[in-house]
């Protein structure tokens, strides 16, 4: 009896432990940011560029972005008030300092809490992670813009931003 229980217990322990490790790997590593799950946000914020995961910016940045959609980095991305309110709530709830915090700790390092940047690509940690990319690579036809994450992170729409 004892002999049969032991391997089962060991297997269970192993499964439990590796699940824990996997979860840790996703949460702490700084390369997994859960994709947008809200349909309206996906539709309205995912047509000109990928719908950026909420955990890539703190709530205050999202609030400022959502408060200025009529002049959105030079584009008119304005929406009706109901849609704006809905999307603002989704993004701030899941922001880097909200429900997304366990994924975002690394990326939030060194930011000015009171006045965080509007752009993901201006977060100090984002800049340092990308410092080895040359101006020529940024300007290449396939990339075109720093905000074109999917050009380099092929699984970005699934939430993975690895070196690939």
């Amino acid at each position: 009896m004892v002999l049969t229980i032991r391997p089962v217990a060991a297997a269970l322990f192993l499964i439990f432990f590796s699940a824990l490790l996997l979860d840790r790997a996703q949460a702490g590593s700084g390369h997994y940011y859960p994709p947008v799950t809200d349909k309206l946000t996906q539709d309205e914020c995912g047509s000109c560029h990928m719908a950026f995961p909420a955990a890539l910016l703190p709530a205050r940045s999202w609030q400022r972005i959502m408060g200025g959609l009529a002049d959105h980095f030079g584009d008119d991305a304005s929406l009706d008030p109901a849609a704006t309110a809905h999307i603002t709530r989704y993004l701030t709830d899941n922001a880097a300092d909200g429900a997304g915090s366990r994924h975002a700790r690394k990326l939030m390092r060194g930011i000015d809490q009171a006045n965080p940047p509007l752009r993901i690509t201006e977060l100090p940690k984002w800049v340092s992670e990308h410092r080895e990319i040359s101006p020529r690579e940024w300007k290449s036809k396939d990339v075109g813009s720093k905000a074109n994450c999917t050009a380099c992170h092929v699984d970005a729409s699934k939430g993975y931003f690895e070196d690939d």
């Binding site: 995912g46 047509s47 560029h49 584009d75 990339v143 813009s145 074109n148 999917t150 050009a151």
Partner: protein
Amino acid sequence: MKTLSSMLLLLLGAAMASAVQAGPREDLLDRYAKDARANDPGFTSFSATRGQELHLARHTTGKPDTPSCSQCHGDKPRNAGRTPTGKSIEPMAVSATPTRYTDAAKVEKWFRRNCNEVLGRACTPAEKGDWLAYMISQ
């Protein structure tokens, strides 16, 4: 009782007739045609040729980096386009993307944004209708 049932029949008939001919795309074109006629009593019908000209022309009145509709949507409507940020856009030709222009609010939202970017002003109802006629004909 008799009048009631004949009225019901009439209603049913009307509902079926409208289901047959008028989809959301046709409703939208009707609306643009009405507005175009109100602006210009000489208006007769939309033209896919004028729509194509609008689509391909390089305008100087909007944002310098987006002088043309074809900048993002490409010059062949049956092919996919691409935004400046690198996101792919499904083809604008109805034959290639059958769900296009079936949501009037969506169409109006993008005409507002894109005409402003490319032309520096709103598109007229006639321009919208011509452009849609072109995309429907492709």
